[in-house]
Symmetry: C2
Subunit: 198 residues, 2 copies
Amino acid sequence: MQSAPAIQKLLDELERLPGVGPKSAQRMAYWILNSDRATALRLAQAIVEVKDTVHFCSRCFNYAEDDLCEICRSTSRNQQLLCVVSEPRDIPPIERTAVFQGVYHVLGGALSPMDGIGPDDLRIPQLMQRLGSEDIREVVLATNPNVEGETTAAYLARLIKPLGIKVTRLASGLPVGGDLEFADEVTLGRALEARRVL
Amino acid sequence: MQSAPAIQKLLDELERLPGVGPKSAQRMAYWILNSDRATALRLAQAIVEVKDTVHFCSRCFNYAEDDLCEICRSTSRNQQLLCVVSEPRDIPPIERTAVFQGVYHVLGGALSPMDGIGPDDLRIPQLMQRLGSEDIREVVLATNPNVEGETTAAYLARLIKPLGIKVTRLASGLPVGGDLEFADEVTLGRALEARRVL
């Protein structure tokens, strides 16, 4: 493609975004070229601003603009209930359920011996320190239901249980609205094992 | 979602992009948050730069950084062969075929009485002026094969033919690699009408 260099540079940068291939990068680039200057600059400004103002919450390591994130600053959250997640991006889906009213701790990843990620590469020391200094009664392990997430959950459970704190894990089972026919064996097996009396 | 305001602002701006819904905006926002500052700022800078440096080619109305676009500046193109397209985004797919060696004219849309877009809203006067002043032997009408594109092509053909210039239209037919079984009736009808002797 014989593009102006500035367009080519924009295409290159857009293609770095997750889920954006050459075709969608081109659609976005033409949208930016077609849009009025103010709209395009608002996008550029939002990118700059997020890098300038957002950092990690000093307590839970969620994204925050101030020293503490909005959840840690809130006075309506149950401070005795702590949910451990791998990444900040895992918090919004949990918040959307409106079921969890406690606070969070973000590990910044999951244990993965294959990738050389051990306990010291995650914010596990900071978690243990919080469990020592804060009055936490229950830790919900909400790492992903995959190999790394399960390994991390098992490791943390062994570490936290001796402190006399209740440790729970997100339930595995059939997704609501899902189809039994299309469930994989592992999920269906877990759903059977965890069957409830009605 | 209880996001920091800067993250929410970025999500709002990303969602304006074509083909980007709430989920992909969130993936992109987290990618930007996770990436190092330099990478994120390169994207912001590319957006600013494209708005600052790219405008329309004064001859063909393709996107250009200088007065003329790269195609109009090229000395290796056939200046007697002119391809008329609706939008600048229609040029890269034609260039990628490497079949067309002429120059372009971008109309900036297509005739659409329904949307109130008439000949004066497109760069048709500029096209007629080029046909009067440049030595053009053939005009290839490469507007889209839909109602507006066909209307525009028919209108331009009526306007240009009296000047004694050869007017051609992109062929309609079955897409190469396509399946006859899944071809729509109109396309298959066109392919039959335009059948070639072997």
